[in-house]
């Protein structure tokens, strides 16, 4: 995509503003994006996963990954006690080593956002609330907006919305575009992460189209999954999304973020994702402003591996607080 010369009133280059003019234009734009070759993207992801990260670069990666974790609890059984315990862990992932960086945010259901906001007051750690009838997204626009308002009123600094995958798969792109726009407006100053639920979109071509759709509609982040559908985040899917935010940057000059979520449990996995961030999107994305991990058990392993790097030997898992 060439560097833009003319910009529309919305601030987008003319070509992109034109793409969202109506349903037909949007469909034409999304279907005109270059295809993604499945074999090729999976080969590239597997190839990059063989990078060997050692010593100082490994410690840097671990600390950076800790600072990118959206520590998540999204269960029917969640309680205020559970959320407070998670917040404490986000503040001090390793109590024995206070210099360990805090997590980026805590991610909860909207009714528990208020509790998390209180527990994290003054820490600088964000509170992300899922919204729009997470995880299915199956309800009316009014209900989704009310859900978002609940989160924002409670003080959530980040909103993780889901797109209507049914609408996407039946080709009603404009409906999703407008929905993201209205949620963005309802979210106000809160950062909007748009969950594509790539496991339900099935093809990489769809992942690329959904990524562009979310970016066009104003999503600050594109996020792979709810964690409730298998497969959740995978490396190749994240490659496609990292490529999309990079291409978006080239086209508009704006930096947007990516959040893989679900299934990332080990330090080794996290480092593979960071390598992809560095080499596919670019080093400027190596920041919690532009890259997050949606995870729960990952933080524990990162803390254990951090200790291993500093102590020169492994620690038992009991040295890390359970959630």
């Amino acid at each position: 995509m060439a560097t833009p010369t003319t910009r529309s009133a919305s601030g987008l280059p003319a070509e992109l503003a034109e793409a969202t003019r109506d349903d037909t234009a949007l469909r034409r734009f999304l279907h005109g994006l270059p295809g993604v070759d499945q074999v090729g993207v999976e080969q590239r992801a597997a190839g990059l996963a063989t990078r060997s990260i050692k010593k100082a670069s490994k410690l840097w990666a671990i600390d950076t990954a800790i600072g990118m974790v959206d520590l998540t609890t999204l269960e029917g059984a969640d309680t205020e006690g559970r959320v407070r315990s998670l917040c404490a862990k986000a503040r001090r992932p390793d109590p024995d080593r206070p210099e360990t960086p805090p997590a980026a945010a805590v991610c909860v259901y909207p009714d528990l956002a208020e509790c998390a906001v209180k527990a994290l007051d003054g820490t600088g750690i964000g509170v992300a609330s899922v919204a729009t009838v997470f995880p299915s997204g199956r309800s009316s626009r009014a209900v989704k907006l009310a859900d978002t308002e609940l989160a924002v009123r409670a003080g959530a600094s980040e909103v993780d919305m889901v797109i209507d995958r049914g609408a996407f798969l039946s080709g009603r792109y404009m409906q999703i575009f407008e929905e993201i726009q209205s949620i963005k407006e309802a979210a106000g100053s809160a950062h909007l992460k748009v969950i594509l639920e790539t496991g339900e979109l099935a093809t990489y071509d769809n992942v690329r189209r959904a990524s562009w759709l979310a970016l066009l509609a104003g999503g600050d982040f594109i996020k792979t999954s709810t964690g409730k559908v298998s497969p959740a985040a995978t490396l190749p899917v994240t490659h496609v999304m990292l490529q999309a935010v990079h291409d978006w940057y080239v086209a508009t000059g704006e930096l947007r973020g990516v959040k893989p979520a679900g299934g990332i449990r080990t330090t080794k996995d996290a480092i593979r994702y960071l390598v992809a961030v560095r080499e596919v999107a670019g080093p400027e994305w190596l920041s919690s402003r532009l890259f997050r991990f949606g995870a729960s058990s990952l933080l524990g392993d990162l803390v254990l591996q951090r200790r291993t790097q500093l102590d020169g030997h492994y620690s038992a898992p009991d040295y890390v607080a359970v959630d």
Binding site: D37, V41, R44, T50, R51, S52, K54, W60, T64
Partner: protein, 478 residues
Amino acid sequence: MEPVWEYAPAPESRDIAGAKPSYRMFVDGQFVEGAGEPLKSINPATEEVLTEVSTASPSDVDNAVKAARRAYDKTWRKMPGNERAKYIFRIARMIAERARELAVLESLDNGKPIKESRDADIPTASAHFFYHAGWADKLEYAGLGADPKPIGVAGQIIPWNFPLLMAAWKIAPALACGNTVVLKPAETTPLTALVLAEICQQAELPPGVVNILPGAGDVGAELVNHEQVDKIAFTGSTEVGKLIQRSLAGKGKKLTLELGGKAANVVFDDAPLDQAVEGIVNGIFFNQGHVCCAGSRLLVQESVAEELLDKLRKRISTLRLGDPLDKNTDIGAINSAEQLAKIRELTAAGEAEGASRWTSPCPVPERGFFFAPTIFADVQQSMRIAREEIFGPVLSVLTFRTPDEAVSKANNTPYGLSAGVWTEKGSRILWLAGKMRAGVVWANTFNRFDPTAPFGGYQESGFGREGGRTGLEAYLDE
């Protein structure tokens, strides 16, 4: 704050290679001192002498060929196929077991990055022995006659770009079909072939079935012209291939040649562009571009040329050049000073003829033979860099407007080894593959090798096929 994340060095230990101070040639089941002038094998990444290797004299060649002849007459040709298979399987397994040692040794001797020797060269070499072991007792079902017979003694000469893999490509089918072998590895990269000799010895392969004679072109010439050699298989430059064909004319020896190439990688405007970029990078920068089937000419449709080149330059800037033993190195060392000089000569010609040069800003080590990845845009068919094989990390970019123009430009070369096509349109892939004068056409991928797939060329890229059922034909008398 601009975040920075440099990867710490992650070198594989060179001790794993178990490189010895000196190596000897392998004749009639024994390692023996050759009477030729010993050669010094250099680590191209440091220019240090790795080890000394004895080379063959004319009488050594004669002894090796006679040993191969004896082994052929007395044991190997008479041995039932299922018994031959046991030896070949054993060699395959032993290569896999010693994979790490072989990978490190290969990277030291050749300069290729450890990730390639570890993930491509050595596993594929082992796979070739496995695959051909399976054929040894099934040759009558290969479609090459009811009772196909071996040819006899095969003289095999291989290049320095994939030292162990090329040895496997040559030796495995020859043995499976019941032939015995005298193989000459390239003078700059003889070490892994000599470890393979050790493996043959440990596998208790009957003496004389495989003989390995290090040396330069004179040893090759001696082998080619030896009257008791029944078949010559050569992989290397077109120039030497022509010399061999000339000297064998009228002598009744069988010959297969796998020579140079100047492959076109054709990218249409509907291609999956990001993966095309990966394929182009893999096509020309894999193994520092020391690949006869390298996609050294990029033919891109004009309507996407600018976008593709932007993406390509960005991607190439992320390639890591340096110590071949570092696990994160993407581009290692050029194999020899001589090859480096050739690459420099041709790139200088490209600049002089008016093509626009872009070279990756990656840091280049001061010692060793290195050449940073380079792209030439605005290349015309008439320029040397569009016609001659550079055999280095240098890509020439040409554009086309229509599919017919793409085909005529792609075929406008005396070579014809491989080609690539990138499009989401299946019908166009089939149409183009039918029009390309190339032995291999890759669709939406590049440089994929498998023992089951035949490989070989058209025109000045040679004749005969290696791999697959078709590859057996080169080692059987119908």
